[in-house]
């Protein structure tokens, strides 16, 4: 009887440790993913830098700020308020 109980304790302890190791691994993965997220955010804000966007828009895509005469305002008819966003001639 004692031997059976002892073996049972050993077994459950072993299983607990194995689960704990798994938990550890997952937690590490979580931290790594968090780090990666930070790096991706960093990369994203580098690519989406306003200076870069302006450069690409102007030089590569030939875009420009619309001149006053090219802008048309659209009134928002439904609620009677002037629309917030002018329609851009882009």
């Amino acid at each position: 009887m004692v031997v059976i109980c002892a073996l049972g304790a050993v077994n459950s302890n072993h299983r607990a440790r194995r689960l704990f190791t798994e938990l550890e691994a997952e937690q590490k993965r979580m931290r790594d993913l968090d780090v990666e997220w930070g790096q991706l955010q960093l990369e994203q804000s580098t690519w989406s830098g306003h200076a870069r966007i302006e450069k690409v828009a102007r030089e590569k895509l030939g875009m420009y700020t619309p001149l006053p005469g090219q802008i048309m305002l659209v009134e928002r008819a439904t609620d009677g308020l002037a629309a917030n966003t002018p329609a851009m001639a882009e």
Binding site: T21, L42, S45, A51, G69, I71, N84
Partner: protein, 577 residues
């Protein structure tokens, strides 16, 4: 040979003395007793030391690093983020590298071989070979298994927008503590606190169990600034352009949301790249908009006029004689750049007449003017938390001489920071009240601000400020197609060694759309040395470009017809200095 069976051995028949048995028995018993005593001693009395020794062999205390919080702009775009890097260190005595290995190693981590050898030959116990290298490079180094070269985890702060937000954000030192700007001002919130845990590790080094209590790390809090990345870029970009065009020494710009007091942009030049801080000089580090006070010049006139209107001393249409363009108070003479003759109060602002402002100021008491300047926040710090923030200089009213009261009415003999002017202009952009400025994004606009002027006074001055940017005013270049703009130029001689030098500080402060102001933009250009130096020529175009871009990006509805501007340059009025 005759064989004898053991049991029949004659030796056994011999009777042995009984003491031998007893001796043996006692010997064994004593030995047992000794073992029992020893084990009781080890288990019961000496267990503390032994337990420690045992734990030292399988338990480890692991530091859990806390990450410094991220700084984002109001839309959540990352402005500063910490990411793990490795630092390479060594105990010089332990390092044994062949010359070929040293060469490869130095090349791999891109440092000078001689410098590295010099470090490794030093007497010190601990040297950093290279700090903060990217993780993938660190892995390559680790793969070579150089004898005696160790790695250590560290965090490095990256600022993706670089020099554009340098003064706003500041930077952290190598120990991850804030040293400038927001990083210092909000260090206690951003900084995390490392924790630790005690664990049992198995033979392969993986953690099998937590023992004892865990001190969880406190992660640094993320901070969302009021800053708008796009407006910040516009502000920085156009300020830089103006500084180059006008060969100016320095400059600053502040954009404030009038509804909430949030600071949407703050840029200074010269600046620096916070990601690469070698060769930094003091001038680059200065956050001029909050640390440098200057004599504002004419941008102060609207306050003088507002006080006179508020006290009922003048009406907007009251006329004031400014001819002959000179006025002597005591021993000093003040003058206008142009002789204007008879001007209404509104025209005093429009044409920026010093004499007019001084004559209006002469009708008021020094203590009233002081109280007004004080409630506008001049002479006291903007309290944003930036390092080195100053409050400018506003002397107590009792010490004012009449000439000083006169010069102060047009912004001389008083010094302010750009941030203070932007804050004070809220009284005209809002309905006569001021709300505190905020570096952080606010979820709700602050409750009512501190009222300085009545809404009626604010509206009257706002109308005058609109005149100043129209043709016939001092700053037609501040006009923006589609929006009504109000603002005031300032051009002041710089004080050097107590006397006015032939150097200028040109500024422009304004807001738009004038029918329902949304943004305040304050621009300051230090020592423009090109062909032009008036605020209307140097600072106003920056204002117009930034304001136009910012209003468009915020989607503010135009309040004027969208027609191309017609600026009549022949009619531009030069303000008095």
């Amino acid at each position: 040979m005759q064989s004898i069976r053991f049991t029949r051995s004659p030796l056994l028949l011999q009777r042995l003395p009984s003491w031998r048995q007893r001796l043996l028995l006692w010997l064994f018993l004593t030995a047992f007793a000794a073992l029992i005593v020893r084990s009781v001693y080890l288990q019961g009395f000496h267990n503390v030391f032994l337990g420690e020794q045992g734990r030292a062999r399988y338990e480890r205390v692991i530091d859990i690093f806390a990450t410094r919080g991220r700084i984002t702009d109001r839309h959540g775009d990352v402005l500063a983020v910490s990411t793990p890097v490795k630092s390479l260190w060594a105990i010089p005595e332990d390092v044994s590298l062949t010359p070929a290995q040293s060469r490869d190693f130095a090349k791999l981590i891109d440092i000078d071989l001689r410098e590295m050898n010099h470090k490794l030959a030093s007497e010190r116990d601990f040297v950093y070979i290279k700090r903060q290298i990217p993780p993938d490079l660190a892995e390559q180094v680790a793969a070579h298994k150089y004898a005696g070269i160790h790695q250590q985890d560290e965090y490095r702060r990256y600022y993706p927008s670089g020099d554009v937000t340098a003064h706003m954000l500041g930077f952290t030192g190598s120990e991850d503590a804030g040293q400038e700007g927001i990083e210092l001002a909000f260090n206690s919130q951003l900084a995390g606190k490392s924790g630790s845990r005690r664990v049992i590790k198995d033979r392969r080094g993986s953690i099998v169990e937590d023992v004892g209590s865990i001190h969880p790390p406190v992660e640094g809090k993320d901070i969302a600034l009021a800053l708008d990345g796009k407006i910040q870029y516009l502000a920085y970009h156009y300020l830089q352009q103006a500084i180059v065009e006008n060969h100016a020494k320095a400059g600053g710009i502040v954009v404030v949301d009038t509804h909430t007091g949030e600071i949407l942009a703050l840029a200074n030049l010269p600046t620096y790249n916070p990601n690469n801080r070698q060769h930094l000089v003091g001038a680059q580090l200065r956050n001029r908009a909050v640390t440098d006070s200057f004599e504002p010049g004419s941008t102060m006139k609207p306050f003088t006029v507002a006080l006179a209107l508020q006290e009922g001393k003048v009406r907007p249409e009251t006329t004031i004689q400014t001819a002959p363009g000179k006025m002597t108070i005591g021993t000093a003479t003040i003058s206008d750049a142009h002789v204007h003759g008879l001007l209404s109060v509104a025209q005093v602002i429009q044409k920026s007449s010093n004499i007019g402002a001084a004559k209006i100021a002469a009708q008021m008491s020094a203590s009233d003017m002081w109280a007004m300047f004080d409630s506008l926040g001049f002479g006291s710090s903007t309290k944003l938390g930036f390092p080195g923030e100053v409050g400018g200089r506003l002397r107590p009213a009792k010490t004012w001489k009449p000439i000083e009261q006169a010069t102060m009415s047009y912004g001389h003999g008083i010094s302010v920071t750009l941030m203070q002017i932007a804050r004070a202009y809220q009284v005209f952009a809002r309905d006569g009240d001021i709300v505190p400025l905020s570096l952080l994004r606010l979820d709700a606009p602050p409750a009512n601000g501190v009222s300085v002027f009545s809404p009626k006074t604010a509206h009257e001055v706002r109308a005058m400020l609109e005149l100043a940017v129209q043709n016939g005013g001092t700053a037609p270049q501040a006009q923006i197609p589609g929006y009504r703009v109000a603002g005031k130029t300032g051009t002041a001689h710089k004080v050097e060694g107590g006397v006015y030098a032939n150097k200028y500080v040109s500024s422009f402060v304004g807001f738009a759309p004038a029918s329902a102001p949304r943004l305040i933009v304050a621009v300051m250009i230090d020592e423009p040395s090109g062909a032009k130096h008036f605020g209307g020529d140097v600072a106003a175009p920056v204002f117009a470009s930034v304001m136009a871009g910012a209003l468009r990006s915020l989607g503010v509805a135009p309040d004027a017809p969208l027609v191309p501007l017609q600026i009549d340059n022949a009619e531009v009025v030069k303000e008095g200095i």
